[in-house]
Amino acid sequence: MIVEISGHSLLVFVGIPLLVVAVVALLVFAPSIANGPRYRPGLSWWAPPVWINGPTATKPDPANLPELPGAPGATATAGSGVARTTGGASASW
């Protein structure tokens, strides 16, 4: 038995289902394409560091500061080496 397939029936029975599948796939994957890669705990982290509301200006390097007059041989103790009592909390997941 020979079945003749016309262009019209091909469009209806193959073209339309393919179109529907494509639309559904687009709707499923569109959010992840728009948002980019999502963070998954346990997998490697890919992004460069982000510092929100960080320091406004870079502090001068203590090693490059001009020597203060009248204090020869004095070593600077201020800066990041100052021990401050800090509080807070830690967690891991």
């Binding site: 948002n35 980019g36 890669p37 999502r38 963070y39 998954r40 705990p41 346990g42 997998l43 490697s44 982290w45 890919w46 992004a47 460069p48 560091p49 982000v50 510092w51 929100i52 509301n53 960080g54 320091p55 406004t56 200006a57 502090k59 990041s80 100052v82 401050r84 009592t85 800090t86 509080g87 807070g88 909390a89 830690s90 967690a91 891991s92 997941w93």
Partner: protein
């Protein structure tokens, strides 16, 4: 994993908004750092806090997504306003969100919570003389 930014502009906006709101509510400076640590996370987070303009009145939230570590560091003055117990509660909130992969949601909720805990009620009649009979 393909290269890209940690957050979309919308997500960054949400986090920045939460940070601004927390600052308004508490009067403290809030900063959020997301990235890997060169060394141990706690000393690294304290180093970052000391790089801020006013470390004593600052709160730094440090998140290491790769190492799955979270550190909340409060400055010497900020910790008077924001106790370690309150920071621990916020850390627990963030930890729950991070474990499900929601970095933005965890940061927004956690920072909001930190701001709310750091809020100090205004002292009414603080400068008036005590009532004398």
């Amino acid at each position: 994993m393909p290269a890209g930014d940690a957050f979309t502009p919308d997500q960054l906006y949400d986090i920045e908004k939460a940070v601004r709101h927390a600052e308004e509510v508490s009067g403290l400076h809030f900063s959020v750092y997301v990235g890997g640590a060169d060394s141990e996370t706690r000393p690294f987070a304290i180093e970052l806090l000391n790089e801020l303009d006013d470390p004593d009145h600052s709160v730094l939230v440090y998140v290491d997504p790769a190492g799955r570590r979270l550190e909340i560091v409060t400055g010497s003055q900020a910790k008077r306003q924001l106790s370690d117990a309150a920071a621990g509660l916020a850390a627990l909130t963030m930890q729950t969100s991070f474990a499900t992969g929601d970095l933005t949601g965890g940061l927004v909720t956690g920072v909001q919570q930190l701001g709310a805990h750091g809020h100090q009620a205004p002292l009414l009649h603080a400068n008036t003389e005590p009532h004398k009979l």
